[in-house]
Structure formats: C-alpha cells, structure tokens
C-alpha cells in the first residue's frame, strides 16, 4: 500500500518549502501582537464586555486578565485567519502541482489517484495539527507565562461563564482537538477545490471567501438563514470549540464542575464536520479519478 509512502513524501515536500514556515511565523506574530495589546489595554478590553455591570458588581479586572482568558481571545483568530493559512497549503496540494507541471510526474507513477488525494489530504491534516500545536504553545503556554493563571471568564452575548482554574486545562485540550477537526475540514474543502483548478490561487481565495460569506450569514442572525442555512453551515459548527467553555449550572445557580452546556450539540457539530470532511474528500477522490491531467 503506497498511501503511507506518499504521505511521507508529501510531508517532506510541505516542510521543505519556505512558504510553509510563513504560516508558523504569522501565527507566532499574531499571537504576540494580541498578547502585547492585552498587556497594554486589557482592562479596556474587559470593560467592553462588563460596562453594563460596573454599577452592580466589583469587576475583578486583574483576575479576569489571565493566561486562560488571553488564550481564548487568541483562539478567536482561528475562525478567520488560520483557515487562510491552512488553505495556503491545502489549496496548493493539487492545483499547485498542476500549475508547476509536477502533477503529471506524480500521476504516472504506480500510486493510485485515490491514494494520491488521500495522502495529500492526510498531509494537510498533519500540517493543521502541527500548526495548532504551535498555536497552543504560544497561545496557551505563552499567555500563562505572561499573564499567569486564574479562573477563566468567558463572555457570551447574553451571559458570562466563570470556570474554575482547576477545571480549565482539559477544556483547552478538548477545544484544540475540536479546532483541529474544524481546520481539517477547511483543508478538505481546499483539497476538493484544488482538484478543479490549474492554479493554487483559485482554491485558496475560494476557500477563504466561502468561510467569510458563511460566517457573515451566520452572524447576521436573519431568521430565514437561521432556519435554513445556519444549522448546516460548517462555519456554525466550526465554532464548536467554544462549546467546551460553556458550563452547565444547577438549579441553585452554581456551575457544575466538569460539565458542558448541552454536550449533545457538540457531538452533533463534530459529526457534521466529520460529515463535511468525508463529503469533500470523497468528492475530491471521485473528481480526481475522472480528471484528465492535461497540465
């Protein structure tokens, strides 16, 4: 079975290209910028979320601005910025090779087209995981070193959740796993679009545009979209990593340690993302098997 051999080769090619490391550098830079901004202006940032409550409560600004809070703020960039970095690599997988003419060299070897697409997708997935590990290092470890640890406060549109210090780390691990699933889905979309293009710019731009359009549709909260598109839109479910930071509370108003608010929804979101991955990759394999390689 040539799959693992092709996967090794694809990973080798990915990490020999200088552009791969642009993504790692960009992530590190973005995270450092956010950390710097919060170090300087963190209280104002928190005030944005708590302004309506300053007359009623003592807002513990210093406590809220801790490493876990900063990490969650950083993870928000996943939705818009990191999909671009993922698309840069995944969208180039087939279209880039078609453009440079190396695709025909690969396709004339004794490796099936199915194995080729699956291995390229798997290599993109490995790249996503490594990108997220890098992000975890800077966003979580780096933030904890800069801001220290404390309880985590998560601000939602109509409520806020306080999670005890001792109940946080496993949530971050779960959130990173879910984020990996979400970004692997983006990689699958990019690989699928890459099959139809002879130039990697098309799939990269198309992937980012699709993510942006569906994110806007989701955030507009227009009833017709909320009932039809949003429940199935992958951008809705890509946010599932945040669900690990929504806690359930008991009848007397106290949060239940180790709980997740509506875990079934998370399972459903995960299943939908897996479904999209399966759909995109199956479609990519089907299309690539039928494709005449003329480049």
């Amino acid at each position: 079975m040539m799959f693992f051999e092709v996967l090794r080769i694809e990973l080798f090619k990915i990490f020999r290209r200088p552009r791969t490391f642009i993504a790692f550098g960009a992530i590190a830079l973005i995270i450092l910028l956010i950390q710097f901004a919060l170090k300087v202006n963190g209280n104002e940032f928190i005030l944005f979320f708590t302004d309506s409550q300053t007359d009623t409560f003592e807002i513990p600004f210093g406590g809220i601005l801790n490493g876990y809070f900063v990490c969650v703020a950083v993870l928000h960039i996943i939705l818009v910025h990191v999909p671009l970095l993922v698309a840069l690599i995944a969208g180039d997988m087939i279209a880039g090779e078609a453009n440079s003419g190396t695709l025909r060299m690969l396709a004339t070897k004794s490796v099936t087209r199915t194995e080729l697409v699956l291995a390229k997708f798997a290599a993109s997935a490995v790249y996503v995981i490594l990108l997220l590990l890098w992000m975890a290092l800077f966003a979580l470890v780096g933030s904890l070193l800069l801001f220290g640890a404390n309880d985590l406060v998560v601000f939602k549109e109509t409520d806020l959740h306080i999670i005890s210090n001792t109940d946080v780390v496993w949530r971050f691990i779960a959130a990173f796993f879910f984020a990996a699933l979400a970004l692997i889905m983006i990689a699958a979309l990019s690989v699928f679009l890459s099959v139809f293009a002879e130039n990697s710019l098309g799939p990269i731009v198309a992937t980012v545009c699709i993510v942006i359009v569906f994110t806007i549709l989701q955030q507009l909260k227009v009833p017709v979209f909320e009932q039809t598109i949003n429940p199935w839109s992958f951008t809705t479910h890509m946010l599932g990593w945040k669900g690990f930071f929504y806690v359930e509370k008991s009848a007397d108003g106290v949060t239940i340690p180790g709980s997740i608010e509506n875990p079934i929804a998370l399972v459903k979101s995960g299943a939908i993302l897996l479904g999209y991955i399966t759909l995109f990759i199956s479609a990519a394999v089907w299309a690539f098997r039928k494709k005449d390689i003329l480049s």
């Binding site: 040539m2 051999e5 092709v6 090794r8 080769i9 080798f12 090619k13 020999r16 290209r17 200088p18 440079s100 003419g101 190396t102 025909r104 060299m105 690969l106 396709a107 004339t108 070897k109 004794s110 490796v111 099936t112 039928k290 005449d292 390689i293 003329l294």
Partner: protein
Amino acid sequence: MTTVLDVKGLTKRFAELTAVDDLSFSVPAGSVYGFLGQNGAGKSTTIRMLLTLISPTAGEITLFGLPLASHRFDILSKVGAIVEKPDLYKYLNGVEHLRIFSRLSGVRPQENKLKDLLNMVGLGARLTSRVGTYSQGMRQRLALACALVNDPDLLILDEPTNGLDPQGIADMRQLILHLSREQGKTIIVSSHLLSEIEMIADQVLIIDKGKKLMEASMQTILQKATALDVQQLPSHRYFLEAYFLSLTGQ
C-alpha cells in the same frame, strides 16, 4: 518478437475535437520506437493515455501482456517517462528528486545507486543543488534520471533532447542506444529532431490529425524515402525528414 505495447482502436475526444482517432500500433520489446507527428497531431495525447494521465474515449491498451485499465500498478512500476517539458520541484535537489520518484515507483535503491544515476546523466557535480538553480538542459537530464530510477523495462521519452546542447544531444543519443542495445529496454521516443530519430529508431509511427499515417521499420521507411524524387526536396538532408514531410503533405 514479443510486443511490449499493444494499442488497438485508441480514441480520445475532447468535446467536439477528436484528438486521437482509432489509433492502433505495436511496440516490439527491446526496440527504439520513434513516434512522429506535427504539432497537434495527437502524440502527447497518446502518450498521456499510455501513462493513464488521460482516460481514452475508446480502445484498448495492453502493456507487458496486461490490460492497462486493470493492472495499472503492476505496469507503471515497470515504466519510466518524460512527458513534455519536465517540471520538477524547484526547492528540492537532484538526490531528493530521485529518492521521491524511486519510492513512488515502489523501489528503494541505495543512496550510492542514486548518485551513480545522476553521474550517468551528467549531474554528478550538482547532486545537492536545488533544481531552481538548474538550467533547462540540467532539468532534462534530471528528468531522465527520474525516469530511470526504478530501472524500467519501458521508457517513454517525449522530446528528450529539449534544451540540450549538441554534446548533450549526442550524449542522449548514446544513452538511448545503450539502454536499448545493452540493457534491452524498450524505448518510445517522440521528437521533432527527425535526424536523431533516423539515427536511433528501429521502428517509426507517424500520425497526423490523430490518425495513423504510417507504421513501419526504419529500414522500410528509408527505402521508401530513397524512392522519392530528392531533386524536389533540395533542402532536406535526411531521408526520414523528406519522407515525413511528403507524408504530411508539405
């Protein structure tokens, strides 16, 4: 004589264009088979169908006695090819290319064998240089090395002398003859340099507008060519060239 490649009724249509039309030919084992035609005649399309880059609209391709459609893995592990301009990974060096393409062919030669191969094609001094720094001729040589890395029984070379200087062309000619005569490899060569084909080919296929015009041994073609009125073709020094041009109506 055994046949390495058998093509029967091969056809390829792209929308309204029929690029290859009911083409049939056979390539004997151990021969150098010249594949000729003008630009747009259907050579590249045919070669791509042989290498499964394009799927035929109709027809059958049998390689090493096995149908290509159902035995792709077994067949392609014995085939090496250069298709049109060789495009390589600019950020990798020569040895890395050979390592990759050998593994994709299902073989894992020793490192010193890879270096020997690069020496054989004249790239011994540029083993670890990135391909981005190679000239066109050097890339052509590396592409040939990549085609040979799995020690194939069949080599398909589309314009193998592209970008080579006169010495390079002569070296390529000698290499093709060596691979065929000494190592018994079957080589299909498509080239615009009819003079080169005349010097190395045992058998020639000429196509035009996707159809076969002529398939014969080089000996037969030369006999037919000498029968032409050479006085009418004073600018042509080579019989193959003269015969080709007469066949294609020029």
